[in-house]
Symmetry: C2
Subunit: 327 residues, 2 copies
């Protein structure tokens, strides 16, 4: 089952079901007004959503309209909880090797996560406004999951069953702020402006054999200014989503609609490229002795699609342009 949220001029958006081939969408408002509402009573809502989705896919429903990414907000236009991991340890290894930063304690054994801002997500093709090119504007291609209510202290084994949806996202990062904030110990804040999401949230079954061991086994194709930048695969995630959820629920229960991110997708093989500029810069420094790739400028674009380059793309695509705040 594929779900999306259409922009409707409100802060909430309009929940829709999306056909498997991304051709059509149909309102799901008769079942739940928003995706947040759908998640808050998932056990009750899921069968009704699936029935309507099946009817849409069988072309047995009235009122469907054409799907366009332009019409979409993030699947959850805002959320009460957004916790992002850094579960591809290759990414961390490269950053540490390149920039000779202090080793992070317990890096290999305890998942590294940060609490993200979640009141104002960007849609898949929304322009991304930033105050200054000097901030080190970077994208981060990631996968994520959305949970049901999760009890405090949940085990890794139990955590998988609280995963309701899988998403794809761009965790915009401002590296200059990040360098300063990481040194305070208090973590990222100004370094992490509004995160963007691909238009479609899918139930795990929708990914077929690409979803197993709590990971998305799909390449994430990233293009910077319409040129290939990388296509690392989600399979190399060291900590699985159930492991991240169990870590996140160690001292708090998580409430329905919690989004848990993987961190930048990253592979050991150099020919996979990267899903963020900072990692490519680290590789350039390690392999070639100097940094060649600049961070983004106003007018630059980034595109991210999971799956085969020619499709299908189960989450749709992210295609954004960086713009100055005043524009």
């Amino acid at each position: 089952m594929k779900l999306a949220t259409l922009k409707d001029g409100s802060r909430y958006g309009h929940l829709v079901l999306v056909a498997s081939d991304l051709s059509r969408v149909v309102s799901a408002r008769s079942i739940a007004r928003t995706l947040q509402e759908a998640l808050e009573q998932w056990v009750k809502n899921e069968p009704r959503l699936r029935a309507r989705s099946d009817a849409l896919n069988a072309d047995q429903i009235d009122g469907s309209i054409q799907f366009t990414a332009n019409a979409c907000a993030a699947p959850l236009p805002r959320a009460y909880h957004w916790v992002d991991g850094s579960a591809f340890l290759n990414h961390g290894d490269l950053m540490q090797l390149a920039f000779a930063s202090e080793p992070i304690p317990d890096f290999e054994t305890i998942p590294l996560v940060y609490q993200g801002g979640s009141d104002d997500f960007l849609g898949p093709v929304d322009d991304a406004p930033f105050p200054s090119e000097a901030d080190g504007i970077d994208f981060e291609g990631e996968y994520g999951v959305i949970t049901d209510d999760v009890p405090m202290g949940v085990s890794v084994d139990q955590a998988a069953r609280f995963i309701r949806l899988v998403v794809q996202l761009n965790d915009w990062s401002l590296r200059v702020h990040g360098q300063r904030e990481v040194k305070t110990g208090f973590g990222f804040y100004q370094a992490k402006p509004a995160t963007s999401f691909a238009p479609i949230a899918v139930t795990p079954d929708e990914l077929g054999s690409s979803w197993h061991e709590g990971r998305v086994h799909l390449p994430l194709n990233v293009e910077l200014n319409d040129e290939h930048f990388g296509n690392p695969n989600g399979s190399e995630m060291r900590f699985s989503f159930p492991e991240l959820i169990s870590h996140a629920a160690r001292t708090s229960r998580l409430r329905a609609g919690t989004i848990v991110g993987s961190g930048t997708v990253s592979n050991v093989a150099r020919d996979a490229g990267s899903a963020c500029i900072a990692e490519r810069r680290a590789i350039e420094l390690i392999d070639q002795g100097s940094i060649k790739t600049p961070f983004m400028k106003f007018g630059d674009t980034v595109r991210m699609r999971a799956g085969a380059p020619e499709g299908p793309w189960p989450f749709g695509e992210i295609a954004q342009r960086v713009v100055p705040l005043d524009a």
Copy 2:
């Protein structure tokens, strides 16, 4: 004007107005179902809420019921954005002096903030469940504000006008996790379980002369197991709430219902005591050479009231007991 949210068995709660003397409450649902909804259209809702509040205070309204803290959730039972500062620099100075930690860069000039979890706040007299006494269970008495929509890049001068409500809160902290997490650079996550709030959110005018220069000039009386622990005054906040808001909105706009915290209230004068155990332990180590006060055990209680010891307490009071998760 005083607002609160009554528990009603849902995730949302029921918005009420509270009489100035905290004697009675009356539903505000005819104006807005929840405080979040009220904030999202504050300019439209505020005059109607004030008219109903005035009628309540003049005893000219039907359907009011007695106020009890037991019936209250946090004013916002959950929020889309919770950013907590560490704006009482005396607290940071003491921690650094006692534990010889690395100096935090730009500590005196750039506000230190962390992004908090916001999907599951505790009410003022809710038990606080934790998995282990070994985690270093501690309270942190703070003030906070709730904002309207704030544009990205707002100046300090402009920020004050986006403050809609003032709150009092207990930012529960697990110090053992905090010590580990601060070293990762990614900031607090397991160290910051669900935050608790005093029952009443007030408009700034309700605080009279105690609200000026963007600070709450009131002592915060803290009792641990019914014994005086401290009564530091909010006046020594180095960065004001407008300064914290301007910092928070540097690279993102803030959406209505954003909660901005002061960090642990802390005063230079030793006889003010402390609003968290960690600070008292730091003072013990500095002044007496050894730590005497343990962190909290299951069954311990904490009480926090802003204002004169005998009242009135504009935010009501926080009175919580620490309990094991399994209970």
